[in-house]
Symmetry: C2
Subunit: 146 residues, 2 copies
């Protein structure tokens, strides 16, 4: 169905664009379906993920990471707090700031979601080999920088 081996000049880069597109789509697919069963969306996943990886992150910090408006963040974040998946504590240094962290239930869901992705990634890394994995990481690092 897909023609990912295009021999045309600069076809390599076109093929890479398509791989990027399809790979990313497949990558978000599984967590999306887990979330759907709970009535949650991809935003909730991103929030859970980043709070899990950066405990005590502030709302502002989350906004900067996710690059969305505070209105777009607020509703799903409140929902996660109400569901008992995220806990917010006022910072002692600056009591305007909320320190966000996962509750045990939040950690559990986050682990379930992220595990679907790590399994997916690990399988691809294993099949492609250690050297390819290093290359993938190196290119991704450059893409993020540039």
């Amino acid at each position: 169905m897909l023609d990912l081996d295009d021999p045309a000049p600069s076809g390599d880069l076109h093929a890479a664009i398509e791989q990027f597109y399809f790979a990313y789509r497949g990558f978000t697919d599984r967590p999306d379906r887990i979330l759907e069963r709970r009535g949650l969306g991809r935003v909730h996943h991103r929030i859970l993920y980043f709070i899990g990886r950066r405990p005590d992150v502030s709302v502002r910090g989350l906004l900067d990471l996710l690059a969305v408006s505070k209105q777009a963040l607020n509703a799903p974040l409140r929902q996660l707090i109400e569901m008992g998946l995220v806990r917010a504590v006022a910072s002692t240094q600056d009591r305007r700031v909320k320190r966000l962290a996962l509750t045990p239930a939040g950690r559990k869901l986050e682990a379930e979601l992220t595990e679907a992705q790590t399994r997916h990634l690990r399988a691809a890394f294993d099949r492609a080999g250690k050297e390819a994995q290093r290359g993938w990481r190196a290119v991704m690092e450059e893409l993020v920088k540039g």
Copy 2:
């Protein structure tokens, strides 16, 4: 701001998840802004791209590639045809089927959009090196398959 070098066990895979997320976001950013100036969205880009890469693709073929409902495809596709960027010709074999192709104007816009991405990719590939590029491609291929 970002902590992409996490030394924790299995932190490699978490770091990879974040790289994937940020890299993809950055990757779609530039074309999105070009499209915004014309009042078009990412769907239009995907349509233009796939028609450009698969001339004479049918509407059904596009639907399968993009994995969206025909209602989601129809409006932007019609818009592109009305703007003179895409041309549709009934297939001679099966006159129910439309063969879609880019007009010269469509090819021009598509090239402009795709060039933003190929430049981005090429720069990252160049900085990371040929071996890393091969690795990236290999991992992506596995991700698409798995």
